[in-house]
């Protein structure tokens, strides 16, 4: 079977996902197109050779509606021969794009694919595309579908994580992210966003709060207590009646940040790499998605990782570095407990709590961060995993070549 190789991965900086954010004034199609163009600037290949552009986007409406993948390609001036598809697997969309690209390559029916994701959360707010899971009262009631923050607090309650555990983790995310930026670990893969006159708009992640202290984190208000009290806790306890009360411990400080951003990765077969002069940096060893209990919703990373490891014929001990999306601190801590991963191998350059989680793009970003870090440390294997709305999980394993 043909293997799928990762030739390159890059991303935009992440802007604060609100009207004061630097990228609020930049269209999402622009973010995506600048990624496409950065890719052709770094790698010399004929865009007409690209078989597909698979782009994740979680709120594909308004500025992001109508297959933003194709819009971005055309806007960027790529060959009209490149088709585009927009996909949505909620928070894992950017990683699902990579996985689908890998599958297309491995099937032999495609040779070269751009995978990626885009999300302007400032321009197109979460939930603004409606949806049965979020807004159909009958569906919500049947499923006991609660807001993710309530699920995250439910995980913390069941696992017995204290507020301090969560804040400690958040602090580490801030410290590691700030350190990585300080040491320029991200520089090679983060492209500056410019306006159409070439003036720089944003060059670095904007959401970070370097110098954050535990005291500051501890002073933040629980973000989901009101939603719980409105009735979502009662819904959650329908599924988890052994819990007396949910303890509300997630705050804006120990949950992922709302940001804008985009990312792309170039994936292809060995043969296409050769014919286009592209250097393979890693091989995609395995990928997996799973469905899990939808009320607690965010427990997918462990089973998805196990599934991917099994497909690759690997053990957790075979993985050098892990990227677990920091949707909420409790998600990472639960995963870490389940797979017994050492702090030193987990989210070594911080993550979404510090830098933000641009929903559709995050998966591709995590993959790029992991690849860069494996190279920097000269390690071999890495696994990216994410929790997903609706009760799903995803994992991708890469190995340097």
């Amino acid at each position: 079977m043909t293997d799928a190789y990762l030739f390159d991965a890059l991303r935009t900086p992440r802007g604060k996902g609100k009207s004061s954010g630097a990228l609020f004034g930049v269209k999402p199609v622009e973010l995506l197109a600048q990624c496409f163009n950065a890719l052709t600037a770094r790698q010399d290949f004929d865009t007409a050779a690209v078989d597909d552009a698979i782009i994740g986007c979680v709120t594909p409406t308004d500025d992001q509606g109508a297959v933003i993948a194709k819009a971005g390609l055309l806007y960027a001036g790529w060959s009209e021969k490149v088709p585009g598809i927009q996909l949505n697997r909620f928070c894992a969309s950017g990683l699902e794009a990579v996985n689908l690209a890998a599958m297309k390559i491995r099937s032999g029916w495609s040779d070269l694919i751009v995978a990626g994701g885009v999300e302007s959360m400032s321009r197109v707010p979460m939930g603004s595309d409606g949806g049965a899971l979020l807004f159909d009262p009958e569906v919500m009631a049947r499923v006991n579908y609660v807001p993710q923050g309530v699920s995250a607090d439910l995980i913390a309650t069941i696992e017995g994580f204290s507020r301090e555990d969560l804040d400690q983790y958040a602090l580490r995310s801030q410290e590691r992210s700030a350190y990585a930026w300080e040491k320029s670990y991200f520089n090679s893969s983060v492209i500056p966003i410019r306006d159409f006159n070439g003036i720089s708009v944003l060059e670095k992640d904007e959401h970070l709060r370097p110098g954050t202290t535990l005291e500051q984190l501890a002073s933040l208000r629980p973000a989901f207590a009101d939603l719980g009290a409105a009735g979502f806790e009662a819904m959650a306890l329908q599924k988890y009646p052994e819990v007396e009360n949910i303890e509300y411990q997630h705050t804006a400080g120990n949950s992922s940040g709302i940001v804008d951003g985009a990312a792309v990765a170039l994936i292809g077969s060995e043969a296409s790499g050769k014919s286009h002069g592209l250097k393979a940096r890693a091989r995609i060893r395995a990928c997996a998605v799973v469905g899990t209990e939808p009320t607690i919703m965010l427990t997918g990373p462990a089973p998805a990782s196990r599934k991917a490891l099994q497909l690759a014929g690997m053990q957790p001990s075979d993985i050098d570095l892990w990227e677990v999306n920091e949707a909420f601190a409790s998600v990472v801590l639960k995963f870490q407990r389940e797979l017994d991963v050492a702090d030193e191998q987990l989210n070594v350059n911080g993550g979404a709590i510090a830098m933000g989680h641009p929903l559709g793009a995050t998966g591709t970003m995590l993959l790029g961060t992991l690849l860069d870090e494996l190279e920097r440390r000269d390690l071999n294997t890495g696994l990216v995993t994410m929790c997903i709305g609706g009760g799903m999980g995803i994992a991708t394993i890469i190995e340097r070549v």
Binding site: P137, E138, M140, A141, G231, L237, Q238
Partner: protein, 709 residues
């Protein structure tokens, strides 16, 4: 059935007057009667000989509602859907663009009756506080099915319509006016018709907003993000309030959400689908049984001793101005009686009166009563420290604390001054009435009246018949309970009477589960999710563990050698005697800790003494155990004639201690489950959990004969 009258201005007045009924109701009969009328009106309109239509009623009420008997008997989805469709098309005929139509509402219009009013272009109502308007369907597990949901949404928006429809409240004309569900008030029937005529003459064409191209639902449709986000919260609120047990509020929200996105004709179909679903639902059948049929059976005096004239009490004596006594005093004055409130000193009695003062003040602040009404009502309570003031009372209620000596003393003292004809009622939870009657000089006029706390909220009173209590006293007690607008059930003088005895089994079952190693939170949450008002352990604390044990000891005395001890008794002893956790009290805790501030929480050490060993559980089975324990005990009560009728058992359980209404009460639970299936499951649980799940003889016989309750 429909009187037709046309005046010189070509305005037709249709007066509804159904034959052989006290009230007009909406059913297929009236629908059919309207067919030729509507045809005739259309002809008149085409000829240009129709200026407008006024619909009013010849009865005291306008339209009482739908035909519940017809709907209750009908259990075919297609037939119900067709029924709903027919009524809808009838209402559409009334409102379809054309001549203006006014509902001249001369009396109560509820349910389908109010739907008809909503289908008219304009509503004029007589400003009489006794007129009730609105949609009570949800309290029977139903919803409007003739466009009422849609028209309310178009009038007020999704959220207001949701609130009105899910509250099940009815409104007097002033309130209805404020809400915006009617248009004009009139002081007399004559003025009502004049205002109706004036409006017609000033109105060119009758056309509803949804029949106009550009009109919008107030507040916006589900497409509006703010509305969508509110709907999310409403969904969560429903889950919190009803735990998914009640399909009607959910169907109402579903209808509003979907209907807001489509045209009126499609919306009508959606409403009919949900209406049909509800009518077919077990919850609606059970709720209609208990809140309509059982309620009416009791209200109509089915269980009241026959042959005694109506008792009209004017003055009530109350001994003991504690929480119960002051609560009873308050509902007595609210319902038109004078009260003599006595305690050991006038000062203490005054404190009891203050409770009423406070309640009345709230009523005034929320504009339910005027300041002068408040003063007048409060003046009805006379406080005293002397039983002499009971001389002209029609009855005296003794509500001192649960101590036999004290109760005998106040009984004797009160009877010394009471009128010969007056009766004395004792409010006790656990002392046998026959026993207390021993200190009465006229035990035939001595009866138990078991009020539940809080008195102003719980709609049930148990009348307990002592051995010597006369039927006449029972009849009078019955009339008194009805006069304070509560539901009377008559129970035999036995431990715990009916309500406390059956509730006790729920509590004991929960304690057994704790003993078996289930997590306390699990027990509590599943109790609530089963539809009970609180977890079993919380209810145990509320009534105090000693009281629960006392009932169990009384049961032991009652059954003698046949008594089989409940497995949870050991835990009760341990909690009371070893762990010093006798339940909720001034300085005491129980299964829960009761902090001075903040919510109670499960005693953290509880699992140290009763370790959680069961990490897996069968949710369905645990919930059934809670229900079966109560239902089987209710059957024992029926068999032992503690309670005599099915309606009393059902309504008593729902009103008395909050047995889940969607199950229709303790005995309706068996009908709902299927009598045979219930018996089989009892046998299964008997094997698993012991003889407390044994099938009582009465139930076995019914199952053999294929009879229901």
């Amino acid at each position: 059935m429909i009187h037709y009258k046309k005046d010189i201005d070509n305005i037709v007045t249709l007066t509804l007057d159904m034959a052989n009924r006290n009230v007009n109701i909406i059913n297929h009969e009236i629908g059919e009667a309207f067919i030729p009328v509507i045809r005739h009106l259309k002809d008149e309109k085409e000829k240009g000989a129709l200026r407008g239509v006024i619909i009013t009623s010849a009865k005291k009420s306008f339209l009482a509602g739908g035909d519940l008997d017809y709907l209750y008997q009908n259990q075919e989805a297609e037939a119900i859907f067709e029924f709903s469709k027919k009524l809808k098309s009838f209402f559409r005929d009334i409102e379809s663009p054309g001549v203006p139509v006014v509902a001249a509402i001369n009396g109560t219009a509820l349910g389908t009756g109010f739907e008809m009013a909503l289908a008219c272009h304009h509503r004029v109502v007589i400003d009489d506080v006794n007129i009730q308007l609105g949609h009570p369907e949800v309290s029977l597990g139903l919803m409007p099915g003739s466009g009422g949901v849609l028209r309310l949404m178009w009038l007020l928006g999704i959220e207001k319509a949701f609130t009105i429809l899910t509250s099940g409240r009815s409104y007097n004309p002033q309130e209805a006016m404020e809400l915006g569900i009617i248009d004009e008030l009139a002081s007399t029937p004559k003025e009502m018709l004049e205002k109706a005529r004036d409006w017609i003459l000033a109105t060119e064409e009758g056309r509803r907003p949804w029949d106009r191209l550009k009109s919008k639902i107030p507040g916006g449709t589900m497409r509006h993000p703010a509305v969508a986000n509110r709907v999310r919260i409403l969904t969560a609120q429903l889950a919190k309030k009803y735990g998914h047990n009640y399909p009607a509020p959910r169907a109402i929200l579903n209808t509003l959400v979907e209907a807001s996105k489509v045209d009126f004709t499609t919306a009508e179909k959606i409403e009919s689908r949900y209406f049909t679903q509800l009518l077919m639902s077990k919850a609606a059948r059970n709720m209609t049984k208990v809140f309509w049929y059982d309620f009416n059976a009791i209200k109509n005096g089915e269980n009241r001793p026959k042959g005694f004239g109506k008792f009209r009490p004017k003055k009530v004596g109350i001994v003991g101005a504690g929480t119960m006594g002051s609560g009873i005093a308050y509902i007595c004055i609210l319902n038109g009686m004078d009260v003599v409130l006595k305690d050991v000193s006038k000062g203490i009695a005054e404190r009891g009166k203050e409770y009423s003062a406070k309640q009345l003040q709230e009523l005034e602040q929320t504009q339910k009563i005027t300041a002068s009404a408040r003063e007048h009502l409060l003046s009805r309570i006379q406080t005293t420290e002397s039983s002499e003031d009971f001389a002209d009372c029609d009855l005296v209620i003794e509500s001192v604390f649960e101590n036999e000596m004290v109760k005998s003393k106040v009984t004797k003292e009160a009877e010394r001054y009471m009128d010969r004809y007056a009766f004395l009622a004792t409010n006790t939870l656990s002392i046998p009435i026959t026993h207390l009657a021993g200190s009465s000089s006229r035990p035939e006029n001595f009866v138990g009246l078991h009020f539940f706390a809080p008195v102003s909220e719980v709609p049930l009173v148990e009348i307990v018949k002592g051995e010597l209590t006369s039927d006449e006293t029972i009849a009078r007690a019955f009339d008194f309970v009805k006069k304070i607008r509560k539901t009377p059930i008559i129970a035999k003088d036995s431990w715990g009477f009916y309500a406390s005895r059956v509730l006790n089994t729920y509590v004991l079952e929960g304690i057994s589960m704790l003993q078996e190693g289930y997590a306390p939170a699990l027990i509590e949450n599943l109790g609530v999710q089963a539809g009970m008002p609180k977890g079993a352990l919380a209810m145990a604390d509320d009534s105090s563990l000693k009281m629960i044990l006392r009932y169990e000891n009384q049961a032991a005395v009652n059954y003698g050698p046949k008594y089989i001890q409940h497995p949870s008794v050991a835990t009760l002893h341990k909690m009371i005697n070893v762990l010093d956790r006798p339940g909720k009290g001034l300085n005491s805790h129980g299964f829960y800790d009761y902090p001075n501030e903040g919510e109670p929480y499960i005693w953290p050490e509880l699992t140290t003494h009763f370790p959680t060993t069961k990490t897996e559980w069968d949710r369905h089975e645990l919930i059934e155990r809670f229900m079966f324990a109560q239902v089987i005990e209710a059957v024992w009560c029926l068999q032992e004639k503690i309670i005599k009728s099915v309606p009393e058992a059902n309504l008593g359980s729902v009103y008395g201690w909050g047995f889940p209404a969607f199950k229709g009460g303790t005995l309706q639970y068996i009908n709902d489950y299927g009598v045979e299936a219930f018996v089989e499951q009892c046998q299964h649980y008997e094997q698993l959990h012991g003889p407390r799940f044994k099938v009582p003889r009465l139930l076995r016989k019914r199952a053999e004969k294929g009879e229901t309750f």
